[in-house]
């Protein structure tokens, strides 16, 4: 500890690269081990929420784009605004209040003893996924809607119609595929924010021992090696998802692929 700061820093970085992430004094285990046991809880939450949000958000986005300016579109627009605006920690509490406390359909906490790949676990994750996913659904449906609308006015859509293609093909193939380009990028770029933003608090509310809750406890326990590691993982995830967004874009957009 009495070595100069730059040397300490250098040592820290070099041990990181060697897979030694230090010792967590708050939990008495190697940071690496700690992360190994906890990441999966965040992962399943984020994965399920994303699937939920992407499937529902995209369907809703397509639907509202096709039914532009209809009553259904206006209602959906209102709900997506509501979805974006609702504080998800409050949503989580309200879901617990209604579905767990009043109706008793779910437990008020997440049970880690359930096998990871089981229906019970899926059921247990319903409220957390709803909590985390609602804002995502709302956001994605709006992205998709505007991307769809933007592409619906494109000339190639008129070409497709002039070819006599059925409307479902025109929308489902030509408009959709083009609309997905920006949407996938946005979803990817959103992801790291969700892992350490939304998922964070969702984990706290439902007592899911994921990376979010773990890092919050680490902050409170002055467990800096963990805080450091989590920050690094956050940065790494941001870079990773940026990269994935680029890769996805490249795969989907031949204009970039062939350059």
């Amino acid at each position: 500890m009495d070595k100069p700061l730059y040397e300490q820093y250098f040592n820290y970085i070099s041990s990181l690269l060697h897979g030694d992430w230090g010792w967590s004094f708050g939990t008495s285990m190697p940071v690496m081990e700690l992360i190994k046991t906890h990441w999966v809880y965040s992962f399943q939450l984020v994965l399920l929420s994303s699937i939920f949000a992407i499937v529902l958000g995209i369907s809703l986005g397509i639907f509202t784009a096709v039914k532009k300016n209809s009553r259904a579109d206006h209602i959906a627009a209102f709900f997506s605004f509501a979805g974006i605006s609702i504080p998800h920690f409050w949503l989580g509490i309200m879901l617990i209040l209604i579905f767990s406390v009043r109706l008793g359909w779910f437990k008020t906490y997440y049970d880690t003893s359930l096998p990871m790949l089981s229906l019970e676990n899926l059921y247990a994750l319903t409220l957390p996924v709803l909590t985390l996913g609602t804002g995502m659904v709302a956001g994605y449906s709006r992205y998709v809607r505007s991307a769809m609308l933007e592409n619906m006015g494109k000339d190639f859509v008129r070409t497709a119609r002039a070819k006599g293609l059925p409307e479902s093909t025109v929308i489902g193939k030509h408009v959709f595929r083009n609309a997905m380009l920006p949407v996938i990028t946005i979803i990817m770029l959103d992801m790291s924010g969700i892992v350490f933003g939304g998922a964070y608090i969702t984990e706290v509310i439902f007592g899911i021992p994921g990376l979010g809750w773990m890092s919050l406890k680490a902050v409170f326990a002055d467990d800096y090696s963990v805080v450091m590691a989590v920050t690094l993982i956050g940065a790494f995830l941001t870079l990773l998802f940026n990269l994935l967004a680029d890769i996805a874009y490249t795969c989907l957009d031949p204009r970039i692929r062939y350059e």
Binding site: W23, F25, G26, T27, S28, M29, P30, L34, T37, H38, I96, S100, V101, G104, K107, T108, Y109, D111, T112, S113, V204, I205, F206, G207, P209, W213, M214, K217, F220, A221
Partner: protein
Amino acid sequence: MCGRAALLSAGIGLSGCLERASEGVNQSVNTTSGAPKAGGKFIEGASGADAETLNWILVADATSLGYIGLTLDGLIAYDNNFNTVLRWMKKDIEVSQDGLAYTVTLRDDLEWSDGKPVTSEDFVYTMKNLMFADWMAYSYAGDWKEDVEGKSVFVEPKVDNETTFTIHRKTVNPEFLYTVTDLNVYPKHIASRYEGDVKGFTQAPELNDLSYTGNLGPYRYKEWIRNDKIVMERNPDYYGGRVNGEPYFDEYTIKIFGTSEARHAAMEAGDISSTAIEPEQVKKFKEMPSVQVFTVPTSQYQMMQYNMRDNGWEGLRNKNVRQALSMAISKEKIIQQVRLGFGEPAYSFIPKTSPWYDETGLLKLGAGALYDKNKAKERLVEAGYGARKNNEIQVINKNGSQIKLKLVTNTGSNVAESTAFLVKQELADIGIEVDIKLVPWETELRKYYINKVPGSDQEPRNNNGARAVSEESWDLILAGHFVDLLQPSGSEIFFTSDGGLNIYGYSNPQVDALFKKARSKDAMDKNVRKEVYAELSKLVSEDQPLDFFTFPTANIAFKKGVLGIEPGINMNYNYQEWYFG
């Protein structure tokens, strides 16, 4: 038992220390007929912070001690009446006539996980080479020291034979017995690998997962998901189970919940076997057919500290002013409004549940006839803090200004905040304005507890002498203290002039002397000690360095099916004998 570590409760309402660790043997006082059955998983619901480590010598928090206690019984346990229940010992600790030697005789069937016997050598090694070692910096090493000719030295443990060792002292301290009973042990052949290496010792996997504990406790470590749960499984080799096959539970799990609400809901749904119930919910749970709720005393008291140091209101240095303030705050109201009836009024630091409790001479401020705001005002006037105007008393500073007090307490607890506002209301009635400052517990420790003499290069500590002051000024701090019911002398850290946690600058030579006496040769006689404690209680209640509020009572809910429980202050002492009926 919540060790000395936790004497300073982690802020009001933040402490989640369920006493455990000490357990009884062969004392089946089953309330139901029929033989207990083995089987089932017991899940205890907890909230608050998770344990920090299972490597016991490094422990600084009560939760960790609780976990460790499941696998390491300890030398003895106390039942609800403070009778000694032998655990690892064959017979009770023998104290020599002169009070200088403590002989511990171990059972001969204790084993480490690798089959090696647990010997007195392990204990002596643990003390000499680990607890007393410089490199280790054991937090409670001070308990094992004594003053010999002005120097602080460690006591001397010696191996007598395979199963017997003796700890030799040079001075007499009758309460050292309780220090000895808290003794724990590491296997010498494993711990010695890391001797002198703090990092190695801290990170040693076999010490951190308790895999060495052999037959020393009713349960064995199985799984620990941080901030979620720890699972212990039945120890089939448990020495205590040789007779009747205890423990009965296949697994003992401690599950941590984020909120009390979630914990309650889990209890209500029957997902967990036991948990503490918040006051508002007790009635509901008591009425549930599937739940039994025990209302039991605790060994904690909640109070308000008066700052007698230089950075507090000068009036607080006057005993009469302190008494007057305490007189204006109703203990009954605090119990009723904040704890919804779950608490006993506290007048001094020794509760009714302690064998050393003595009511004679206690000044019962803030209750009965001594809860009197007019008298309080009059007393303030007498002390020079007020003026009479046509029969009306106006409480003011000596210079005529309004008295304003700064009350500090920790965030994150409704109990703390409610109490603070109640105090504010009560003191407003006598004309004193209270400004409430809520700060996180860590900040409270850093800015309000730790003090030093201004301008000096002292290492900041909780009590740096009479002239030391904290970084931030304060007048009142709400907090909680634990008291060791068997040896209240442990509270000297709060009440002696150089007590380590005497943050408020209280000093009374008489009190200092009495605490010393409780740990002296004279006190070998229990009657003398009883007198000493009675006198101490009386003195402290008169001096009112703090306004003792309440000894809260806890409500612990169990599933109806859990049998073998003996409700009381140490109700966990026989937890390995509980079973599902």
